[in-house]
Symmetry: C2
């Protein structure tokens, strides 16, 4: 139970949403939850992680590979397509199109299996049922497998056209040119090879398809596709089954086209040899292990239970568990939105999940930042700064894909200058923070030695060159930045940013000390090429201004002179909007001159540095900023949920938690900013939902030394139970309304220090403890 | 010759323009160049310098006093009004309105006398000629005098309704309430008294009118007016003459209403006793002295000659020669545009004229800044800074009248946030610069001792608190400012601003030394209450970053990363405009992301600090910035004219000079920004025209020690001759195409050091020298 996500009926308005909702993926490939008969208009997409292309002066974005699952089935010449079918009511629409009697699309989260079932009533009275299953193999990163079955109530002729369709959806494409189709000597597999425009990288999609007893079919080659056509005499009640084994390889690591093509064709052929059942089994086994490491149970709240699982599912299907060269884009692998770029979302909203459940993935995510350090250095140099200024929108090289104009003005149609790229400097601090988090959670210094310390040091150098000293106030300040609240660009002393910079400077100092102890030569080399000394970094750290809570009200001003802005209510602000997609920020946005914020900013700081602030401060700021937050970003709600739990008001946080956890289930998120489509999946919210549950309601906090548990369960929750990994040890934690229980695995390397309330305990390997707690 | 400005014919489209063009004034009162029969729709206005009012949350602006010249003349019941008259062609329009046979409006610059002559042909065939003269007495600051004469070609009945009309034009009014009309016991004078809304200050307009032999007429009182009606049997060929003596007093200096009213009535009565001719004579005498001190002759260019005189006329009529409590607003006394506020225009564009011709007025202008220091301190404190941050739009208290929203977006109708008030910090440096200029030109330390040194010190303190130290580059920087080029708000290290700040710091140090020597107690008191030491100011001065010319190109970057902006041509930029009044700056303005500038910025710096830069640098920057300048401000053209002359290319500068010098003659200036009306006179351009001629083409430069003359006359100019006053000495300078001649008045206190080319001379009192020069 609570493993199945299902939608019945077909609504063309939901095609884009369901494409996100029913996605499958394996961290290397993402395949949108579209139906077999869909094409580019329905936003089919096969996204290859880390493969980007740029056409002319358009935005650089991920490559959408040719669709290897493209299949159209005809009954007596009439296509079995939900797009052509009329609804059941008002039976048998005009034009002889079939009637859609039943339709269902579902996702089996446990096995990461997409399923579909459609029943068509044809003009001739025949009822034809089409079912399919598909998965993106967790065991073979290049492989997508699909099984399609058609069964009719009468005898009749089925035509199945299946193959690879290179005419794909692109936002700023087309990205692939010079399409070459091939059918191998044995006729077992067909393939389509093409090249990216910018870098000329080859990409091959190979497909081996089987219809038992139907041979190879008839080859149909068009300019951008290669398919086979099967004509089958279908007998009533006897299903016809098509299995497609689709393998995708690219030259993104430098492989020449010959190797790419050969590998793809071979992989498809091998998969066909192994067969559907065996491939599904090895895939499901992998998923069983993922869930063992991460699944949580919520007692008393089925809806939350499913939403949380679903959130974790979304993270698992895009987690780079095989590569440290890619990270997770802001829209996962669901398409080309936001340029397929990696934002701060990864470090701030997704990393926690992996740190607690799959630290190997967390390491990959952070190593991606190490590998893209050169890009960050180039960006800093471009703006005249030292060190590393990480890309606001990072792709495979770390050069910033973020453009200076990101939103079009709905009134004039003109591109609007935004300062995401130039001024959201906290990204470099976020990266350093993430690196240190990995070290704190795992105790593994390898990341620091393999470049992590250097990244932190370069980020600190960047901030030293970005910062200024205020001679009158005798303090360093961070000026002219955009914080998480992007509705207020170019502000001074954004509390969150300054606090993150301070953390970055601290991380740099600590990481450099570790480097000095472990790799003196590298340490000395870094200092030798640096214009800044550790003493200067320390001085900046010690004298950096971080806005503090007001002594009376406890409020922390989001940035200099934030309070001087108009204090309008959110409904009043929205009433001023003249266009539904109007961007609230930018040069003249209605929110810019008001206190309305896009997303948690001060409150995010209170979450990240929760140990530094009293409950009364957290409460005061939550109460102040919550009504002023527009939640224009999907990153916002989970933070409010967590801080509400942290201040002992989980029921205030619960609606925010649910909003976060269901974002990709309901599809209720902003789809447009200006005239820019921003739909897709929301991995940061998926990660945020997990954080809200574990770090918020369960109240788990780990600082590298000890775990603190301060549960605050929402009213409906009787208990929650979940696994975590901390410093190489595996634990199961169960939080009920009265007590906390921890089970430490026998093989754990060391006891865990645990604090619950006033009690501090040690949980030895193989032991468990159970502690009552009082809220 | 070249003393008369004249327009023939009547065009209703030109009413607003002619209201500016034909203004009269005396520095205390400004009366727009409207006709006697005009009312609020034709923008009649009587502006009282320094009297402001604010209604509700609307903009604070000058008070428009009741119109004491309001007069309507009827011939046989038909009004003699250009507004009701048809044109001559198509004779005798419908509805029985008169035909306007001839119409002329003119200004006698020498005597500052407005004249008008209109000939109406009436329906009954009578030709009625109305002539009038008016002046705003230079001798009696409260007085406006008008003489109206009507002569008809036939006998007939004339009705004259004349008095005071309180229903006046207001942009953000009405400002006057509780109107009380009175007729004094003798019936000689009538008056209208009212109170400003914000401060409740009384204002009285009193009028004594004479029509020889017609007695007192019949009193007509309405709610907002008081008039007298005269019925006169007019004889053919015998002019009927009305003289109006209008006196205006207000309680702006604290006088109670009784005193105000009494003074006004008495003044009008006294004026009536003295009579028109005597009043005109004393007025004209004053003007003769003004012209003696300032008039310049241009040989070979009549058009320039008139335009220059006219420019000086405009400055003279608004010069505060009696008060150090007011300065000159950006639109002079021509109305309520720009809130009647004083901008940097005064110090940077008008001060030179007065420094060279009427240093007493220059002192008043700078003492106005001393008197408004408290307002500047309040503004600095409001923003969390030390010292004095002068108002961007200054009124009588020095508090900033500049609003945060100054322009409406033409696309949405919404107010647009601009940063004139917050970020145009150069204003404080401009003020300090002006103070030092006064000292340099006059040698008079009294301004410094009377508060000028304190102003400079407080401005320096402000910049010390505003500035930042860049720890990596080891220098002070001035961040987040708007320079003169308001299309680029919130930039870092604007070259002009940084250079001005450096000058301000220097002025503060030098002024404080003078104060120490002359008034040690005041000096010590200032230091005692200061958080900043002179050493800190010196350190900032010495290590302040000022963008320097590139070693190769000679170019100076206008601000950090200006070169990174799109380098679009001005026509291409204009082609992008979607609305004729679209504001090019602001949050999303089309110019903001390009290199197109509103007005001279770097080039202005090259003018102000011309001694610091090589000719090649000036040439390179002129050539670079000139095509990129939109001249959206009337302050821009004169600067390009001057720097062109300075680099030896006066003919490149000449069109810019003429554009500046004729701006109020032609009316060719921006009338709208967004939906904001910005018409009125342009004193900064008037001052700029003078500067372009004397400092540009004659090439006069005075640094307090010696005068340098580097003439560069435009091709058409054979010679120019003008008086100047320097350090208490009076000189006449004549520049011809080959030589320079200087005549020093016998009473001069000391010889003047003069540099022409390589030659340095001394010109003793009572002597003259004549020096050839080579260009």
């Amino acid at each position: 139970m609570s493993w199945i996500v299902r939608e019945s009926g077909f609504d063309p308005e939901q095609i884009a949403h369901h494409g996100n909702k029913f996605m499958v993926g394996n961290g290397v490939l993402g395949y949108r939850g579209t139906l077999e008969e869909f094409g580019k208009s329905e936003l089919t997409a096969t996204i290859v992680a880390g493969l980007y292309d740029k056409v002319g002066e358009q935005w650089r974005e991920p490559v959408n590979a040719p669709n290897g699952l493209a299949t159209t089935v005809y009954w007596e010449g009439t296509p079995l397509s939900v797009l052509e079918a009329g609804p059941r009511v008002g039976a048998g629409g005009g034009g002889g199109g079939p009637e859609l009697v039943a339709h269902e699309q579902s996702l089996d989260l446990r096995r990461a299996l997409h399923q579909r079932r459609s029943v068509f009533r044809m003009a001739d009275g025949a009822e034809v049922t089409m079912t399919s299953e598909r998965f993106c193999s967790a065991a073979r990163s290049e492989l997508i497998v699909c099984r399609l079955s058609i069964e009719s109530s009468r005898d009749g002729e089925l035509t199945i056209v299946t193959g690879i369709d290179g005419d794909v959806w692109d936002i700023n494409g087309p990205h692939l040119e010079r399409m070459e189709s091939e059918s191998d000597a044995t006729g077992e597999a067909v393939s389509l090879t093409a090249w990216t425009q910018e870098l000329g990288l080859p990409l091959t999609v190979a497909e081996a398809a089987d219809i038992v007893g139907e041979g190879r079919g008839e080859l149909v080659r068009e300019e951008t596709s290669i398919c086979r056509r099967f004509h089958i005499n279908s007998r009533a009640g006897e299903p016809v089954e098509l299995v497609k084994y689709v393998a995708i390889f690219s030259g993104q690591d430098g492989a020449p086209v010959g190797d790419v093509r050969t590998a793809a064709v071979k992989s498809a052929a091998v998969a066909r040899q192994l067969g559907y059942d065996r491939l599904l089994r090895e895939h499901a086994d992998r998923w069983e292990r993922k869930w063992d490491a991460s699944d949580m149970t919520i007692e008393g709240d089925e809806e939350a239970q499913l939403a949380l699982r679903y959130s974790m599912y979304q993270l698992h299907i895009i987690a780079p568990d095989r590569s440290e060269r890619v990270s997770i884009p802001a829209r996962g692998l669901s398409g080309q939105v936001y340029k397929g770029a990696v934002f701060w979302d990864t470090e701030m909203f997704m990393l926690s999940f992996f740190l607690h459940t799959e630290p190997e993935v967390a390491r990959n995510l952070m190593m991606y930042r190490v590998h893209t350090l050169d890009g960050a250095k180039r960006k800093a140099a471009e703006y005249g700064y030292d060190g590393a200024f990480y890309a606001w929108e990072s792709q495979e090289t770390g050069d910033d894909a973020c453009t200076l104009f990101n939103v079009n003005d709905v009134f004039t149609g003109r591109p609007m200058r935004t300062y995401f790229r130039d001024k959201q400097v906290h990204i470099s601090a976020d990266v350093a923070y993430g690196i240190w988090q990995y070290y704190a959670f795992t105790g593994d210094v390898s990341l620091l030695l393999d470049g992590g310390a250097e990244v932190a040091w370069e980020c600190a150098k960047f901030f030293y060159s970005y910062g200024y000293f205020n001679p009158r106030k005798r303090r360093y300040e961070i000026l002219d930045v955009t914080g998480p609240d992007e509705y207020h660009e170019r502000v001074n002393n954004n509390a969150f940013t300054n606090r993150m910079v301070k953390a970055c400077l601290r991380v740099a100092m600590d990481a450099m000390e570790i480097l000095r102890d472990r790799d003196l030569r590298r340490y000395e080399a870094l200092l030798a090429e640096s214009t800044v000394s550790p003493d200067q970094i320390r001085d900046m750290h010690d004298r950096l201004y971080v806005p503090q809570p007001d002594a009376e009200s406890g409020l922390i001003e989001q940035f200099d002179r934030y309070y001087a802005l108009e204090d309008v209510s959110l409904p009043d602000l929205k009433a001023r909007m003249l266009h539904p997609h109007e961007y609230l920020g930018g040069g003249n946005g209605p929110a810019t001159t008001t206190q309305i914020l896009k997303q948690a900013d001060v409150v995010l700081m209170l979450h990240l540095f929760k140990g530094d602030y009293d409950r009364s401060v957290k409460q005061a700021n939550w109460a102040y900023y919550e009504p002023r937050t527009e939640h224009g970003s999907s990153l916002s709600a989970c933070i409010y949920a967590m801080v509400a739990a942290d201040t002992g008001s989980p029921d205030w946080g619960y609606p925010y938690f649910m909003r976060t956890a269901t974002i990709d289930l309901t599809g209720e998120s902003k789809q447009y900013v200006g005239d820019l489509y921003i739909g897709g999946t929301h991995p940061a919210a998926n990660g945020g939902a997990w954080m809200a549950a574990i770090l918020g309601f369960a109240g788990l906090r780990y600082d590298g030394n000890k775990a603190v548990l301060r549960p605050a369960l929402p009213s409906a929750w009787q208990a929650m139970e979940f696994p975590v990994r901390l410093r190489g040890g595996s634990y199961r934690i169960r939080v009920s309304r009265e007590e906390v229980a921890i089970f430490a695995q026998a093989g754990n390397p060391e006891p865990m220090r645990l604090v619950v309330g006033d009690l501090e305990l040690s949980v030895a390997p193989g032991h468990d403890v159970c502690v009552p707690y009082v809220r």
